[in-house]
Amino acid sequence: SAVISQKPSRDICQRGTSLTIQCQVDSQVTMMFWYRQQPGQSLTLIATANQGSEATYESGFVIDKFPISRPNLTFSTLTVSNMSPEDSSIYLCSVEVGVNEQYFGPGTRLTVT
């Protein structure tokens, strides 16, 4: 397994502002993922972030809104830009560990007012 931490754990932000969420892993991993869980919904993949390459975004998510950095094999950031109340969600990073298995961080609970 892997120990994954996220900062901040929660935040309340004003609409129109941006928030950067950090994800730190205690071991080197190739693949990191960012998910969103909107209230009452399932987990939705935003993008896959591999070190040394551009993040790959899923349908409905764009780089201008959710820029991602992956500077090394243990760290990634997700920025939620120009926020609106619809961006209120839990944002989760995950990493692939072993064969085909993903482990999740504790999540960042974002409320946009």
Binding site: S1, S42, E96, N100, E101, Q102, Y103, F104, G107, R109
Partner: protein, 113 residues
Amino acid sequence: DQQVKQNSPSLSVQEGRISILNCDYTNSMFDYFLWYKKYPAEGPTFLISISSIKDKNEDGRFTVFLNKSAKHLSLHIVPSQPGDSAVYFCAAGVTSGTYKYIFGTGTRLKVLA
């Protein structure tokens, strides 16, 4: 189009009895399946997985069954304990390529003491 469905939003089970959580999928290309448990204010915790080449995988109190012809999998917890009370998510993916997983909407399990 919901490719992974958990049709029971909630389930209550008496302590010591069996909990059975169900998951259906539509994409026959899925070849790897995972179950996660999620407590409030925490990230999902990986429980157990199964490859499409198997029809059963067991780990302690947790057993996952896969019926490929029915595109159905289930998680059995025996015996159920109050600490098992959480939301359970199934996830399905195609392991060749990007290891993207599609998550179900979750089933809230309540184990009654």
